[in-house]
Amino acid sequence: MSLAASYARAYARHCGLPEEGLDTEMAARLCRLPWWGRLGAEVSAAYACLAAPLLLLGRASTFAGLESDEREALLARLQAGHGVLARALFLPLKSVVLGAVYGPRGLRL
């Protein structure tokens, strides 16, 4: 499984969103991106899953391994990052993960 898909599952679990079908949804969405978009999403995921907990919270942990409140704080920090690099590192992942998490829900509306 790609890092982006793994992040999507951890994200859905953290928020209490259904994980059913999420892997398939993520795979389909990643496939539709150009090669550099997929690469961007994976680099973003490496940052969000592995590097950000240490860099932003000072915790040597993965995103999934953090306590619930720490994950929420981390997500808030990622969202609040507004420099070019911070946005570039987070937005590709955010776009594909939120699309996968909320897209099927949108279809049901």
């Binding site: 953290h14 969405r29 539709r32 150009p34 997500l75 969202q79 776009s95 949108g106 509306l109």
Partner: protein
């Protein structure tokens, strides 16, 4: 592919389609290139974005932060995925262009605007298709005693308010560029989907090197018409010695979300059905907007559980957008060729001030309409307000432009009438441009009508010179 045509038109957006259609009506032999596919409605908005937006919707300008700049890459160009809103170019701007640019005929241009208006079947969005967000905004204005809110004019023929304008109209009611200008000349233009311009050589004849599914071809013609969009056309303009690439304006835009206590189902109805020009700051224009949940989730400036709480309330959410006639300027560069522009744009303090003014205005209007909470488009800040007085008092003076949750939809000006092209839209012998790049300044209105008009204006002049 024939090498013997009168004109090669690169791009099927409003400028390219209007020019190609009018040239074909006038008897010219026209080859039209469109690198993107024929758009088809998709149930999933993100799939439409992946297929029919350039760079899968990930195009962004770099400045203080990242400014997403989505535009279309499909038959019809951005008109395949825009809101269909039609506004005439302000007459005083057009007359100003004529005053500054020798050979530009403002009277003729303005009369062609009216022709575009008719061809696009422009009409006011019917009351029956209004979205709940638009209704609430107008209701809020009425409660605050602010006049001027109105239903917007749109290019459509039988819109039922499906609410999916930006993801390819599912009913085919939107009058896109190809529908308005290429369909009537079907069989008279050589439309090549999947083909794109590679290079252009000025001269008489001019030469266009094009690439498509059958490989690379060179076409000799009377003229090459550049209509690849404001972010690609400057590459070709610069290649023929024109001063292109700077002067980018984008109409920076954002939206305010609001939560109400009742179900609104905001995804029904025309998303951009109502508008207002700010009564105090005329460079600010308010226009309706609403996006499907997977895209709304992206633009709500929250994450994790806080975002989920908003998304759980999505059926009770409304939103309204705004854009600024910007005085900031950006530029476009091509280290990786015309298809992969690197865009730079920094917002100046005056535009920043207008953005903050606009978000406060929309917030207060939606609160007046009964919202229990509004969320300003600001990243990493307490941006949620439940009463107008607190919103009025909030000190936003230290907000940085990089903290705005922005988007921009109208890149213009990178070619510049009077700078890269002359009053006849000519950049070099046999090379012309007629897309958003030639709009010489920030318009302050949705630009499709203006760009269509530049297409007709150019075609008319070429036909006249051809006849002469």
């Amino acid at each position: 592919m024939t090498l013997d045509c009168d004109y090669v038109v690169a791009g099927t957006g409003p400028g390219g389609s209007a020019a190609a259609g009018r040239l074909a009506e006038g008897g010219a032999r026209v080859v039209v290139l469109e690198p993107g596919p024929r758009p088809e409605p998709r149930p999933d908005a993100m799939e439409a974005v992946s297929r029919y937006y350039a760079h899968a919707g990930l195009t962004a300008a770099v400045g203080e932060g990242l400014l997403p700049l989505p535009y279309g890459r499909a038959l019809g160009g951005t008109t395949a995925i825009n809101s269909g809103t039609c506004l005439r170019p302000p007459e005083e701007l057009v007359r100003g262009w004529a005053a500054r640019v020798p050979g530009f005929d403002a009277d003729r241009f303005l009369s062609l605007v009216e022709e575009v208006w008719i061809r696009l079947k422009v009409r006011e969005a019917p009351e029956s298709t209004m979205s709940s967000s638009s209704r609430l905004f107008l209701e809020g204005l009425a409660k605050l005693g602010i006049p001027g809110g109105h239903r917007l004019h749109r290019s459509e023929d039988g819109c039922e308010g499906a609410g999916r304008c930006c993801f390819v109209c599912p009913t085919g009611a939107k009058m896109t560029a190809d529908r308005a200008f290429l369909e009537p000349v079907k069989g008279k233009v050589d439309l090549r989907l999947g083909w794109q311009l590679v290079s252009v050589e000025p001269g008489s004849p001019a030469r266009a090197v094009v690439r498509g599914p059958e490989g690379r071809r060179a076409l000799s013609c009377r003229g090459v018409i550049l209509a690849c969009g404001s972010l690609s056309t400057p590459y070709f303009l610069a290649s023929v010695g024109a001063a292109a690439g700077s002067g980018l304006t984008v109409h920076p835009a954002a939206k305010v979300f609001a939560r109400f206590d009742r179900a609104l189902e905001g995804w029904h109805g025309v998303p951009q059905g109502a508008g207002l020009v700010d009564p105090v700051e005329p460079r600010v224009r308010y226009e309706g907007v609403f996006t499907p949940p997977e895209l709304a989730a992206l633009t709500i400036p929250l994450e994790g559980r806080a975002l989920k709480a908003w998304m759980d309330d999505f059926p009770r959410a409304a939103g309204f957008g705004f854009m600024v006639r910007d005085s900031s300027r950006g530029s476009v560069h091509y280290p990786l060729g015309p298809g992969n522009p690197v865009v730079r744009y920094r917002m100046n303090d005056d535009d920043k001030r207008l953005m903050l003014h606009a978000m406060r205005f929309v917030g207060k209007t939606l609160l007046a309409a009964g919202a229990r909470e509004v969320l300003l488009p600001l990243n990493g800040l307490p941006a949620s307000f439940t009463d107008a007085a607190a919103l009025e008092r909030a000190d936003l003076s230290r907000v940085r432009a990089s903290q705005f949750q922005l988007m921009a939809f109208h890149p213009l000006g990178t070619g510049g009438l009077g700078r890269a092209v002359d009053g006849g839209l000519k950049a070099a012998e046999g090379v012309y441009a007629c897309d958003g790049s030639v709009v010489p300044e920030s318009l302050g209105v949705n630009p499709q009508v203006t760009i269509y008009t530049f297409g007709l204006y150019l075609a008319e002049r070429l036909l006249k010179s051809h006849a002469a």
